[in-house]
C-alpha cells in the first residue's frame, strides 16, 4: 500500500516500545479490512491518501545544499524538517536529502563517508591546480587559470563548501600574483629598461653613433618587454575580474541562505518566546503568534480599547485587510487586563479550586440506549449498494443491538460485523418501524417540567423509556406476537425501576 521508507528518528522518538507491538497487532488485525476496502474503492488500489509522486532530484539537491550550511547544521533536526516540509518537499525527498548530507545520525554516516571522500579528493584536485597555475604569470599561463575558475564554478554546484576554500585560495593567489607583478616585476622591468637606455646613452656618449642598431635593438627589446608586461598586467586584471565575479555569485548565494536562515531564526525565536513563560501564563499561543507575525510583516494595529460599539463598527466598516497577511484582531479590554495580570504573576480573583477527577474511576460505561443512526452521506451510498441485502441487514441489526458491548469492548481493529456486499462499511439501518406510535414516541421524548431544569434523573428516565420502547419493538419483530407486549412491558418496567435504583445507589 503506502511506500514508507524507514521512519525518521524524530517520529519514533516519542513512542514507547509497546506502541510498536500494538501497531503490528493492528496491522495483522486490520489486514482483513485493508485489502477488501482498498480493492473495492473506486480510486486506484494504492491509497489516495498517500503521495505517489516520484522524487524530484532538483528539490533533493536544494535540500542538500540547505542542510550542508554550517548554520543549519547547528539547528535541531525537527526545525530543519519543518522548514523543508513548508517548502513543499515530500517525506521521501526529505529523507533522501538527510541521507545525502553527512549528519550525526549513524545510519547516514556510512553512505555519506564515501561521498565525503569523493568530494574531498575532487576539491584537493582543484586546490592543487589553482596555486601551481596561478604562480606562473605568463600569458600562456593566464588561459589555464581562466579555465580553472570556470571548472571550480562547475564543481561548486555540488560541493560549494569546498569550493569556498578553492575560490578563496584562487582569489588570494590571484591577488598575490597581481600585487607581485605590480610591485616587483614591472619596476624591475622598468629599471632594466632604464638601465639599458642609460647604458645606451652612456654608450652613445662614449661610443660613436655608429652603433645605433644596438640602441634600436635595446629600445625594441624594451618595447617588447613593456608589451609583455602589459599583457601580463591585462591577464592578471582578467583574473581579478573573474575572482570578483565569483565573489559576487558567492555573496548572492550567501544572501539567499541568510534569508532562509532569517525565517528559521524568527520561527525559533517566536517558539522560544512562547515556551519561556511558565504554563500558567503561557496560554497565549494563538494570540502571541499573531502578534509575532504582525511585527514580522510590519502591519501594526493597536489593540481595541474596549467593547464599545463604536469600536466594533470601526472594525467592521473598514475593508478587510489584504488576504494572506494576517493582522491582529482587536481583543476585548478585559482580555488584555487578564493577560496583563497573568503576566505580572497575579491570579485572577474568580478562579475556584475544583476537583474534577473521576469520583469512581472504575465507573462502568453505560449501555448504549440508542442504535447509532446512519449519516446522511452514508444513506445514499447504502441505498445504492445494498438493494438486495436488506434481509441480512436485519439480522445484522439485531446482532449489533444485543451484542454491541461485546464488539466494542474487543481490541481495537477487530470488526466482526460487516455486510459483505457494500463497498465501505456502513452502519446498520435502524430497525424497521412496526408500531407507528412507538416511532412517534421516540421522535418526541416526553416533555419535562418547563421551569425547573431537568435533572439527570429525568434524563435517565426519559432515555430508558425511549430505549424501553425500542426493545419492545425488537421483541415484537422477533417474537411476532402482540399478546406478549403487556406481559413483557410490565416485566421490563419493573426491571427498569430496579436499574435506576441501582445506578443511584
Amino acid at each position: 500500500m503506502a511506500t514508507q521508507s524507514p521512519p525518521s528518528p524524530s517520529s519514533t522518538a516519542g513512542n514507547p516500545p509497546t506502541l510498536a507491538a500494538e501497531t503490528s497487532q493492528q496491522a495483522t488485525g486490520v489486514q482483513q479490512d485493508g485489502p477488501p476496502e482498498a480493492a473495492e474503492q473506486p480510486i486506484s488500489s494504492p491509497s489516495v491518501f498517500v503521495n505517489s509522486e516520484p522524487m524530484r532530484e532538483e528539490q533533493v539537491q536544494n535540500a542538500v545544499k540547505f542542510l550542508s550550511h554550517p548554520k543549519v547544521r547547528g539547528s535541531p533536526v525537527i526545525y530543519r524538517r519543518s522548514f523543508l516540509e513548508k517548502k513543499g518537499l515530500t517525506k521521501e525527498e526529505i529523507d533522501e536529502a538527510f541521507r545525502r548530507v553527512p549528519d550525526p545520525p549513524p545510519s547516514a554516516q556510512a553512505t555519506s563517508a564515501n561521498q565525503d571522500g569523493q568530494v574531498k579528493s575532487s576539491s584537493s584536485n582543484i586546490q592543487s591546480q589553482a596555486p601551481t597555475q596561478a604562480l606562473q604569470p605568463q600569458p600562456a599561463g593566464a588561459a589555464p587559470t581562466a579555465v580553472s575558475p570556470a571548472s571550480t564554478m562547475m564543481m561548486s554546484r555540488f560541493h560549494w563548501y569546498h569550493a569556498v576554500l578553492a575560490v578563496g585560495l584562487l582569489a588570494a593567489s590571484g591577488a598575490g600574483t597581481a600585487v607581485f607583478i605590480k610591485k616587483s616585476l614591472i619596476p624591475r622591468l622598468k629599471s632594466w629598461i632604464r638601465k639599458v637606455v642609460l647604458e645606451e646613452e652612456d654608450d652613445s656618449e662614449n661610443k660613436s653613433i655608429a652603433k645605433p642598431s644596438l640602441a634600436e635593438e635595446a629600445a625594441a627589446a624594451a618595447k617588447a618587454a613593456a608589451a609583455a608586461a602589459s599583457d601580463v598586467a591585462k591577464a592578471s586584471q582578467e583574473l581579478l575580474n573573474s575572482k570578483n565575479e565569483e565573489r559576487r555569485y558567492f555573496s548572492e548565494l550567501m544572501n539567499l541562505l541568510d534569508v532562509q536562515l532569517q525565517e528559521m531564526k524568527s520561527m525559533s525565536n517566536s517558539i522560544r518566546k512562547l515556551e519561556g513563560p511558565s504554563n500558567n501564563s503561557g496560554r497565549t499561543s494563538l494570540v502571541n503568534q499573531e502578534d509575532h507575525r504582525d511585527s514580522v510583516t510590519g502591519v501594526k494595529q493597536p489593540y481595541a480599547n474596549g467593547k464599545a460599539d463604536f469600536d466594533m463598527q470601526s472594525v467592521r466598516s473598514s475593508s478587510p485587510p489584504a488576504p494572506g497577511e494576517p493582522s491582529v484582531a482587536p481583543h476585548p479590554k478585559s482580555y488584555m487586563e487578564i493577560m496583563a495580570m497573568v503576566q505580572r504573576g497575579e491570579k485572577p480573583p474568580n478562579i475556584r479550586d475544583i476537583n474534577d477527577l473521576p469520583p469512581n474511576p472504575n465507573q462502568q460505561l453505560p449501555n448504549p440506549r440508542l442504535a447509532p443512526k446512519a449519516k446522511p452521506w452514508e444513506v445514499g451510498q447504502a441505498q445504492i449498494a445494498s438493494g438486495q441485502v436488506i434481509q441480512s441487514q436485519r439480522k445484522n441489526v439485531k446482532i449489533t443491538e444485543v451484542g454491541e458491548d461485546e464488539i466494542k469492548a474487543g481490541p481495537y481493529g477487530v470488526r466482526t460485523n460487516e455486510p459483505p456486499v457494500q463497498r465501505t462499511w456502513v452502519p446498520p439501518q435502524p430497525p424497521p418501524v412496526v408500531m407507528p406510535e412507538a416511532a412517534e414516541a421516540i421522535r418526541r421524548p416526553k416533555p419535562s417540567g418547563p421551569t425547573e431544569q431537568s435533572t439527570s434523573h429525568q434524563l435517565a428516565s426519559q432515555a430508558s423509556e425511549v430505549a424501553d420502547e425500542l426493545q419492545r419493538i425488537t421483541k415484537i419483530s422477533e417474537v411476532g406476537g402482540i399478546e406478549e407486549i403487556k406481559g413483557n412491558g410490565s416485566v421490563q418496567n419493573s426491571s427498569e425501576i430496579q436499574e435506576e435504583q441501582e445506578t443511584h445507589a
Binding site: Q4, P7, S11, N15, E22, T23, V30, S47, V48, F49, V50, N51, S82, E85, T90, K91, S281, R283, L286, Q289, E290, R293, R316, P320, P321, G324, A329, P332, Y335, I338, M339, V342, P348, I351, R352, I354, N355, P358, N360, P361, Q363, L365, P366, R369, L370, P372, K375, P376, W377, K408, A409, Y412, P447, P450, Q453, S454, T455, S456, L459, T503
Partner: protein, 317 residues
C-alpha cells in the same frame, strides 16, 4: 431563535448525533487564559424556542473542545486545557462525573473528534505537537502520532475511511494520517501561517478544508495537493473553525475572529453565500447538525450560544 448565556467564554459547540434537540457547549473562564471550565449540555425545547440546560459539569481548567460519542448516546468527550481528556456520562448527575480522566498530553488539549464510521475510537490533538488515538474502554491511549513541529490545533476523521484522519498545525502544514501506518502519509504545506482548523468533505472523501490565521480557507484535493481547488477569502481576521455540511456537498460553515459566521459554496465563483454577525466577540465555535438539515449553532467569547436555521437571523425572537 434561541440563545443561551454561559457564565464563561464559549469555545466549542457540538450537536449530539443521537438527539436532534441536544447539543453540548465547552466554555473556559477568563477567555481560556487561566481559570476554570464548564461543559453545558443544552436542550432545544421545541415548544418555546429556548435553550435549556440539562446538566453542566465543572472542570478545574478551561475546556477547549468536545466530542459526542457515536456509540453511546450519553457519553461526551471533553478536551481540557490542563492536558487531560475527560469522559462524561450525561445520564449521570454531576457528582458521579467524570467517569474517566485520561491524562497523557503534556500540554493543552485543543481538539477532540469521534470516529463516525468505526464508532469506537476518538482522537485528540494537543499543543504538545501530538495527536493521540483512544478508545473509551481503555485507560491509556492506543497510539500517539508525533510529527508536527508545533501545536496541533485540530484533528478530524475522514467520514468514509475509518482509518484516515487529518491534522492541522501551527507549523503551517496539514498532515494526513492512516492509523495503520507508522507516520503521516501526506504532508500539505497549506498556508504560510498557522492552520487553526481542518475538516473533510462528507460527500467527496478526498477534499479537505483548511482554515488559517491568514484569514483564508483553502479547499484541497488530496489527489492533487500542490494547488488548492479553491481559496475562500472574506473573513476579516483569522478563521477559527471550519465545518463541511453533512447534507450538502458544496456547503461549508466557518467562524472567525472577525465575529462572524460565514457560509460558503466553494464550487461557485462568488463563494460567500451567507454571513451572520450575531456575535459581539470572537466567534470561536460553529457546528452544523447531522440530524436536522440546515440547523446551525455557534458560540463565542461573548458568552452566548446561538442555534438557528440557515437563512434566518440568529438574533430574531
Amino acid at each position: 431563535m434561541p440563545v443561551f448565556k454561559t457564565p464563561f467564554n464559549g469555545y466549542s459547540v457540538k450537536f449530539s448525533p443521537f438527539y436532534e434537540s441536544r447539543l453540548a457547549v465547552a466554555t473556559a473562564q477568563n477567555f481560556g487564559i487561566l481559570g476554570n471550565g464548564r461543559v453545558h449540555v443544552l436542550d432545544l425545547s421545541p415548544a418555546a424556542p429556548a435553550l435549556t440546560e440539562l446538566v453542566a459539569f465543572d472542570t478545574a481548567d478551561g475546556v477547549y473542545d468536545l466530542a459526542w460519542s457515536e456509540s453511546h448516546d450519553s457519553l461526551l468527550i471533553a478536551a481540557v486545557a490542563d492536558g487531560s481528556v475527560k469522559i462524561y456520562d450525561t445520564a449521570l448527575p454531576p457528582t458521579a462525573n467524570p467517569i474517566r480522566s485520561l491524562h497523557e498530553h503534556t500540554r493543552e488539549v485543543h481538539s477532540a473528534d469521534y470516529n463516525p464510521t468505526r464508532r469506537d475510537s476518538f482522537i485528540t490533538s494537543s499543543w504538545d505537537d501530538t495527536v493521540k488515538l483512544w478508545t473509551v474502554d481503555r485507560p491509556t491511549s492506543v497510539r500517539t502520532f508525533k510529527e508536527h513541529a508545533y501545536c496541533v490545533y485540530n484533528a478530524t476523521w475522514n467520514p468514509r475511511h475509518s482509518d484516515v484522519f487529518c491534522s492541522a498545525s501551527g507549523d503551517c502544514t496539514l498532515r494526513i494520517w492512516d492509523v495503520r501506518e507508522m507516520g503521516s502519509t501526506m504532508i500539505i504545506p497549506a498556508h504560510e501561517f498557522e492552520i487553526l482548523a481542518c475538516d473533510w468533505n462528507k460527500y467527496d472523501d478526498c477534499l479537505i478544508a483548511s482554515a488559517s490565521v491568514d484569514k483564508s480557507i483553502k479547499i484541497w484535493d488530496v489527489r492533487n495537493y500542490r494547488v488548492p481547488i479553491a481559496v475562500l477569502n472574506g473573513h476579516g481576521y483569522a478563521v477559527r473553525k471550519v465545518k463541511f455540511s453533512p447534507h450538502k456537498r458544496n456547503l461549508l460553515a466557518s467562524c472567525s475572529y472577525d465575529m462572524t459566521v460565514c457560509l460558503w459554496d466553494f464550487m461557485v465563483e462568488d463563494a460567500l453565500v451567507g454571513r451572520y454577525d450575531h456575535h459581539t466577540e470572537f466567534a470561536v465555535g460553529v457546528d452544523m447538525s447531522v440530524l436536522v438539515e440546515g440547523l446551525l449553532a455557534s458560540t463565542g467569547w461573548d458568552e452566548l450560544v446561538y442555534v438557528w436555521q440557515q437563512g434566518m437571523d440568529p438574533r430574531a425572537v
